[in-house]
């Protein structure tokens, strides 16, 4: 099972800033191991962020994103105590969802 994300969300003057640290190998499929065999691709393909039940960000990820990706974004609205949910899905069909309350 995938490791948890680290999510921080803070509202200020009607704008909520969300910072997400994801735990993922983000293997490109281009690299080879010490015996010369290709390491299979394994990377996040899609990320969805929701404010309560409303989608505020939908992002396509690819193999050019680094290991353990960091993502920061802002959306209009949001207040202390609201729920922010972040989910990702990778090319192997694995997924992970974590949520935090806006601080």
């Amino acid at each position: 099972m995938a490791n948890p994300m680290r999510i921080r969300a803070a509202a200020k003057e009607g704008v909520t800033e969300v910072r997400v640290l994801m735990s993922h190998v983000m293997e490109t499929g281009q690299r080879k191991d010490s015996s010369g065999a290709a390491i299979p691709a394994h990377f996040i393909t899609e990320l969805v962020a929701k404010h309560n039940d409303k989608v505020v960000l939908n992002a396509q990820f690819g193999p050019s994103v680094s290991t353990n990706p960091y993502l920061a974004f802002k959306f209009n609205g949001g207040a202390k105590g609201d729920k922010v949910t972040v989910s990702w899905t990778d090319n192997k069909g694995e997924s992970r969802t974590d949520e935090v309350q806006v601080a």
């Binding site: 490791n3 948890p4 680290r6 735990s23 190998v25 680094s66 290991t67 353990n68 960091y70 920061a72």
Partner: protein, 266 residues
């Protein structure tokens, strides 16, 4: 055609700009480090370690909540800043990793040999690293404050200092070969001058760290192990006296300076 010309012009500009950018920025990792400070992936390891601390594991199915890192059982805040330290219960000077290993053995029944004979980033030794991330994260912003009063601490410090200057191996290197002058570099990597208090704190206080180049979290044991590899010595044993001695020397020398825990490195 026109597009082609523009593209060529951009390429030329890039070529001209590159050496300057390299000279001023490529050799200075600080700006990049600042950008990463907000999203240091070491936090992922801190989270894992925090969970490990309170998870019942091992043959004794126990948590680490009875582990005493020097400030009392289960007191994690500020503990790393005061290590290595002398522990009366083991009658030994221990660094964070060897102390965690002791707790895992005593409380959880996870044999230390499994960690000592293991490999970095794998198995129980990887678990130790995650715990280290958690514990040092609880000393963020604290100054290094190592108590050298105990005779065994004094001796460890003195042995660490001697080891620092100890030349050996296939290339005659000692730690001091690279770490005894201000402002020097190996290739593009800046080297702290560990013979000064500030430099010792820079060396001691910026590890453990997340390494961006290989996406790995390295503890000080791991860092020292790779120093010795590049020094062309034989392989240091995990948690052995030489690693504790050097750690005590660096931490003691760096006393009073703030540590950046966990760090982020190229």
């Amino acid at each position: 055609m026109r597009q082609k010309i523009i593209a060529a012009a951009i390429a030329a500009a890039a070529v001209v700009a590159a050496p300057q950018a390299l000279a001023s920025e490529e050799l200075n990792f600080d700006a990049y480090r600042q950008m990463l400070a907000d999203g240091n992936p070491a936090e992922l390891f801190e989270m894992e370690g925090e969970e490990l601390w309170t998870t019942a594991r091992g043959p004794k199915n126990a948590t680490l909540e009875k582990c005493d890192l020097g400030l009392g059982a289960n007191v994690v805040v500020g503990a790393a800043a005061q290590m290595p330290r002398y522990f009366a219960d083991t009658d030994k000077v221990q660094d964070l990793e060897s102390r965690l290993m002791h707790c895992m053995d005593a409380l959880q029944g996870i044999p230390s040999a499994e960690i000592i004979n293991g490999s970095f980033l794998k198995g129980e030794r990887a678990k130790v690293a995650a715990l280290v991330a958690y514990v040092v994260g609880q000393s963020k912003g604290k100054p290094i404050q190592v108590d050298l009063a105990h005779p065994k601490m004094k001796e460890m410090y003195a042995m660490g200092e001697k080891t620092f200057y100890y030349r050996t191996g296939a290339m005659d290197f000692a730690c001091s070969s690279c770490h005894s002058q201000d402002g020097k570099r190996i290739r593009a990597t800046s080297l702290p001058n560990i013979t000064t208090s500030k430099g010792a704190a820079e060396g001691w206080g910026s590890w453990p760290a997340y390494r961006v180049s290989n996406s790995q979290f390295w503890t000080m044991q791991h860092r020292l192990w790779d120093c010795f590899r590049q020094q062309r010595t034989a392989e240091p044993v995990f948690g052995s006296d030489v690693t504790i001695a050097l750690s005590t020397f660096m931490a003691g020398k760096g006393n009073g300076h703030e540590a950046v825990w966990p760090g982020v490195k190229r």
